[in-house]
Symmetry: C2
Subunit: 382 residues, 2 copies
């Protein structure tokens, strides 16, 4: 008997109620029965993303929604500005390259958030920029970027702001309309408490106008104006991932029952508890601007980070994420995403303590746990 | 109490065992645990498609695999030949247009299969054609095209044959390698007995070489060479639809337990029983070259076809598909796909008899059923 605990930044755990809701017998999707579910799920996801913008759901991973944003905005015939501060910021640049979207790049030191002023300068310098591609939570580094500040800056120009909110939506504070985020891309397998396989895109009128712009869209499966037109009729251009959408509707009901503001507060407290616990153990956080959905902890000197992550997963049954690419072996990432409560933080902290102790790192057992409990009690996480 | 029977050409019914297998708790996908499942599912799907070609699985509907074929083969910098004999043949042309793939079109009268000689002539006339895009089962008309004959013709040239086998794979005889089909596109929600949300693409070395060809690929999410390279390492470039792949592995186990040749024989007998029953009721088949996965029946004069389909669905609980676009109200389509046995044919035929009788069509109740039973007994369908 080994119980498994999933603390990775996607997939994240899915409530059993939601898992079972997706075992629903199949029925046809071009029916009032499914259209009612799709309409309800779409309205719910808009409320959770705090937007009135038009919204479409694709059968794809989150990268599909990112491709949809790039491939359709490339039709503007203008330029893109991408912000690279990690693996997922780089994905924006790679997408621009694939779809022939001329682009400038702002490079940000890994572990740091982008300086909003850098974006302001880049936009002032090049008026042909039509779209700024940013990352809310950079999953590879645990950094949260200030997309609210970026929204203010971009809204003063004729460009649009596109935000990869794949690992922040349903976790970190994210106010699509108040923050003037023109396009928001979301995946199902993180804060939305679903398996992977769905992505969501919300599109402001300003962004839609650019997509319907000068050039032909090199987009078919991810043709956003077509998907939005179908969504307006409670439909999808191609066969939707029916059972996942049934599940989405159920997980969104749970999120709305808790209340979106409470969801933000819960994630804030959970991540704060992880950070406090890590610090109490003498560990360093990798991110200078930490996200409330994922905490990147620097592997202490003398410890084999990859081995700790592997042992925790294979022996303890507790799955953290290691570092990717240049951060391989150098950080451990603990996600607090979606279906995650105070006792998940306790499990994570105990695993961190025991995993590091087994690896020979000197620490006082229980000290991380105590610090975490203090935060959880003070923040009244329920 | 109303029991529901799903006889539409996707989604098709999913066995309860498979539905429940997908309620598995989530775990991380970059782990030996998931890689073993992905490897097994990929090997199984290759055996079911009777191919040794490299194969990738996408989180998308079947159209995603079609886009993958077009967007990547457009990199050849040459031309396409599309065959349009229905809504899904037209999709190939639309995709070529979206991805700037110059193309010739062979138009085929709806309800008819393409003449292989027409493809041969088109290839002889224009040596710049690099890819022929064909539809195995044209779901909108119930036509099965002779892709075996097309495979022979195309294999003698330096072009490749791409086959939309979305509504034939796992149902109709389909021999990827023997028939020289360079690229085969499949969706999950038909013969593979899964919910929608996965697509599969198999790629011959000849097709892969064209994809790696002259021009840059306007493909990222559907970058086929990248997906194949990942698949070779039991991995995917982006987060896979993990629970659907768990389900795929289970449904493929069931297909392999029955045996692929038996699956072909079963579908042949089921569709023949439907056709015999329809004829015994004095009904006409729409397709001159009928598929064994879907039977299109012409709505008899004086009968409101849309109303019959709607009444059967909403009152009887039996869902057929109506006609699409220009065939709206003119045909009824009964799918015999995947998780479908002799008593599903009985239900379908009884629904056809009772639905038409209620609509005022003169028929002898039980005569379609008798004809269907005669075929089922003669063909020994188990």
């Amino acid at each position: 008997m080994r119980k498994d605990y999933l603390l990775t930044p996607g997939p994240s755990p899915v409530p059993a109620e939601v898992l079972l809701s997706m075992a629903h017998p199949l029925y046809h999707h071009r029916t009032p029965r499914f259209q009612a579910i799709l309409k309800e799920a779409t309205e719910r996801v808009k409320r959770v993303l705090l937007t009135k913008n038009e919204t479409a759901i694709f059968a794809s991973s989150g990268t599909g929604a990112m491709e949809a944003a790039v491939a359709n905005l490339a039709a503007s015939g203008r330029k893109a500005l991408t912000i690279e501060g990690g693996k997922f910021g780089e994905r924006w640049t790679e997408l621009c390259r694939a779809f022939g979207f001329a682009h400038e790049v702002i490079k940000v030191e890994w572990g740091h958030a982008v300086e909003p002023a850098a974006v302001e300068r880049a936009l002032a310098k090049d008026r042909s920029i039509a779209a700024v591609f940013a990352t809310h939570c950079e999953t590879s580094t645990g950094v949260l970027n200030d997309v609210k500040a970026l929204g203010e800056i971009v809204a003063r120009t004729d460009a649009v702001l596109v935000v990869d909110a794949i690992s922040s939506a349903g976790c970190c504070e994210l106010r699509t309309d108040d923050w003037k985020l023109d396009v928001v891309c979301v995946g199902s397998q993180k804060g939305l408490m679903l398996p992977p396989g769905l992505s969501v895109i919300t599109v402001s009128p300003k962004a839609k106008a650019l997509m319907e712009g000068a050039k032909a869209r090199a987009a078919y499966y991810f043709d956003v104006p077509k998907a939005l037109a179908a969504a307006a009729k409670d439909d999808t251009p191609y066969t939707p991932a029916l059972t996942l959408i049934i599940g989405l509707n159920e997980s969104l009901k749970m999120i709305e029952a808790e209340g979106v503001e409470n969801v933000f507060r819960r994630h804030k407290a959970l991540a704060e508890a992880i950070r406090a616990g890590a610090k109490a153990l003498g560990l360093e956080l990798y991110s200078k601007s930490p996200s409330d959905s994922i905490t990147a902890i620097v592997v202490p000197k003398g410890v084999d980070g990859e081995k700790v992550v592997k042992t925790l997963r294979d022996v303890h049954g507790v799955t953290f994420a290691g570092g990717q690419e240049e951060l391989k072996g150098k950080i451990m990432r603990i996600a607090t995403m979606g279906y995650c409560g105070r006792y998940d933080v306790i499990v994570a902290m105990a695993a961190l303590e025991m995993g590091l102790a087994e690896a020979g790192f000197k620490l006082q057992l229980g000290s991380g746990l105590r610090a975490a409990e203090e935060v959880l009690l003070a923040r009244k996480v329920h």
